[in-house]
């Protein structure tokens, strides 16, 4: 795609089409003009300004260090604009039958926005917000101004802020990040990648985002104060850091903390035993088997790649797990998540870890009752039973008995939140 694809449709307004990886974008001509990028702009080190063939004119595509500085002049949508979009945004979820969603990395301004949306009655579905650990000091300054303590200490009453919905919004736990993404080669592994680092570095294992001392200290504080953690960890070294942190912090399975490791993708079998010991639960990301499975095989080899999001092995150990889309990283489509857990087929058709495929009911549980359990909501959500909330979706056929290959054809007919219809397929 180039500016020529965008210009006919957007001749007057600047348009920036950001790639899902957030590493680059395509600008239309108005956008390029505002960014001050033209034929005379040198290509920065570590970046890319794609040029029109046979000329130095930018074609529209900007990557990495050419893309990054654009944010210096980026207009930000106002709160009113964002509030007006809440209805449409939630329709993405309700139209797929989703009635509880996770806001998985809530910065302080995001939380303030969500609280406003909730208080104005704009939330149609339940939203579980996970405040970012880095924003915790600022949140404490705001909500507990009299608290005296170290930078990563929490008031004793912090746990009271978590776990209760108010106008469909609740704080679920704290979100931590330990590494990046495997396809971006920014995850953190114990064994080197077969293909080297992003810049061709040999003996490359990725890197942690924070030193273990820092991770251990905050984990210990969250365990001590009774706050559930949701930690982003993709590579096995990052997962080791989470395990170390929770173990040193004193987490034990008997406490029923349900600490969640988001992604838990490149696990080693021995780490499942640590999950059992400490009561850690993975939120897997089986969609990766389809979207990036072939890339993973190239980067870490077939054997390691085959144990990505190991649902069957986790199930055999009695571990409960969720599954997720990381929307907008992959589409918001529960059937796609379910299908990838059942089939584990890559784009090129390789079945990635055939022994880790699970049955349809297990795949469905990871999107319903077992995620409700992550949120400590298994008594009110996640299955159809007397006394539970009528958060329901009506599908045009039974996903348990449908041929897995045909799961994506299933249509949502209607979605109910607490007994009220919130979405209906156009007649």
């Amino acid at each position: 795609m180039t500016r020529d694809d965008l210009d006919p449709h957007f001749p007057d307004n600047p348009v920036m089409l950001i790639h899902v990886s957030n590493h680059g974008c395509v600008l239309n001509s108005v956008g390029l003009a505002i960014a001050g990028i033209d034929a005379s702009t040198p290509t920065p080190d570590g970046g890319l300004i794609m040029r029109r063939e046979g000329s130095n004119e930018p074609a529209g595509l900007l990557m990495e260090t050419a893309f990054l500085p654009l944010f210096a002049n980026m207009p930000k949508p106002g709160e009113a604009d964002l509030l007006a979009l809440m209805e449409k945004a939630q329709e993405i979820y309700t139209s797929r039958g989703v009635t509880t969603a996770q806001e998985g990395a809530t910065h302080k301004p995001d939380l303030e926005f969500l609280m406003r949306a909730a208080d104005e009655g704009r939330l149609v579905i339940d939203v579980v917000s996970l405040p970012m650990v880095l924003d915790v000091p600022a949140l404490i300054r705001e909500y507990a101004p009299d608290f005296q303590g170290g930078p990563m200490e929490l008031p004793d009453t912090t746990a009271q802020a978590f776990g209760t919905y108010r106008n469909r919004l609740k704080l679920g736990g704290v979100k931590l990040f330990v590494d990046g993404s495997p396809q971006g080669k920014t995850a953190f592994w114990t064994e080197p990648l077969l293909t080297g680092g992003p810049a061709g570095e040999a003996d490359y294992v990725g890197f942690p985002l924070f030193p273990p001392e820092a991770v251990n200290a905050v984990m210990a504080e969250f365990v001590k104060k009774g706050i559930q953690t949701y930690t982003h960890a993709n590579g096995d070294a990052a997962i080791d850091m989470v395990i170390d942190g929770l173990r040193q912090g004193g987490a034990v399975s008997a406490d029923d903390r349900r600490d969640v490791v988001i992604h838990s993708q490149f696990m080693r079998p021995d780490q499942l035993d640590a999950y059992v010991e400490l009561g850690i639960s993975p939120s897997f990301f089986t969609g990766h088997t389809f979207f990036w499975g072939d890339v993973h095989i190239e980067n870490v080899g077939l054997e390691r790649a085959s144990f990505i999001s190991p649902m069957a092995a986790a199930k055999a150990k009695g571990i409960r797990f969720g599954n997720h889309s990381d929307f907008s990283v992959t589409p918001m489509d529960p059937m796609l998540m379910m299908q990838s857990a059942i089939l584990r087929t890559t784009r090129s058709g390789v079945v990635l870890g055939p022994d880790q495929r699970v049955d349809a009911l297990t795949a469905l549980r990871a999107l319903t009752i077992d995620v409700a359990w992550h949120y400590h909501e298994e008594d009110t959500k996640g299955s159809i039973a007397p006394g539970k909330l009528a958060d329901l979706v009506i599908l045009d056929r039974n996903p348990i008995t449908t041929d897995p290959a045909a799961l994506l054809e299933i249509q949502v007919l209607e979605t109910y939140k607490e007994g009220v219809s919130v979405w209906k397929a156009p007649a």
């Binding site: 960014a35 001050g36 920065p44 080190d45 570590g46 970046g47 990495e64 260090t65 050419a66 990054l68 500085p69 944010f71 210096a72 002049n73 980026m74 910065h107 301004p109 970012m132 880095l134 924003d135 000091p137 600022a138 170290g150 930078p151 990563m152 953190f188 294992v205 890197f207 942690p208 985002l209 924070f210 030193p211 273990p212 001392e213 820092a214 200290a217 905050v218 070294a237 080791d240 850091m241």
Partner: protein
Amino acid sequence: MEGTGMTLPVTILGGYLGAGKTTLLNRILTGDHGQRIGVIVNDFGALNVDARLIVAHDGDTVSLANGCVCCSAADGTGEALAGFIRRADRLDRIVIEMSGVAEPARLAQNVAAFRLNVDGVIVLVDAEQLPSQLANRYVGRTVARCLSQADLIVVNKLDLAPPEALAETGAALDRHAPGTLRLRSVQADIPMAVLFGLERVGSEVPAWDTDHAALHVTWIRENSAPMSRVEAEEMAADLVARAVRAKGHVLLSEAPDQRHLYQQVGRRWTLVPDGSWGAERAATRIVAIGIASPADRSTYNLVSAGGAPKDRQTQPF
């Protein structure tokens, strides 16, 4: 975007946990150094800046009495940089504190992408803990890469390290950062001139107390004969080996009418055109903060600037 923040130099401050970065940042944010510095804090936890020195608090940004501004990188270093570029007219310099596990080279690349000038990568190390950090299974590789990408290394907490540990740290630095100059410090007490450079070119030399002078010697190199570009490169190679910071004008024989500006932090140096000589007498004048011994003075035709105690011999770490 053109023309914004073009002249703002950026200092990248790296180093693993406990090396003294926060102590140093507190000095910068509260010190009486006359520079308006925008500091981007990029690590877990918050700085405990004395509340009496804070004049304004706006979201993630704190303004201090000495004209410095501190901003969190919670929304990304790029966002924070962009914020400083928007107020570039009210800043003299940007300092970015790196997280203990980030890579300076990658950050330097991103800074350059904002068309800002990377002034130098200064990495602090804990004189006692460095060897064990290098051996850590999670962060060992990262700590080593950070050292190898430093322009200048500050070996801090010298007072707390037993001699054996010091020797081990020295050996580790020889291995991971051969040829990179090292300063020694206690409680991250580094002269601001080392961090942020020499205010003006010429005969003026920044003054600092004699404790500092015991560690760092200031020299001026002056030569009215033009030098060739090759000779300038040789001079740079000499300075890189012994000056932690240097700045000055160079008279090049290839372009005698054009003034050139030489700037150096540790092993990073640049020589760029810098207008015409104007009223200034055309000559090469370099002010350097070095760890040279008196013997070097004669060898390199350097002139002691401040006299008396400043030519005390220092031992490179």
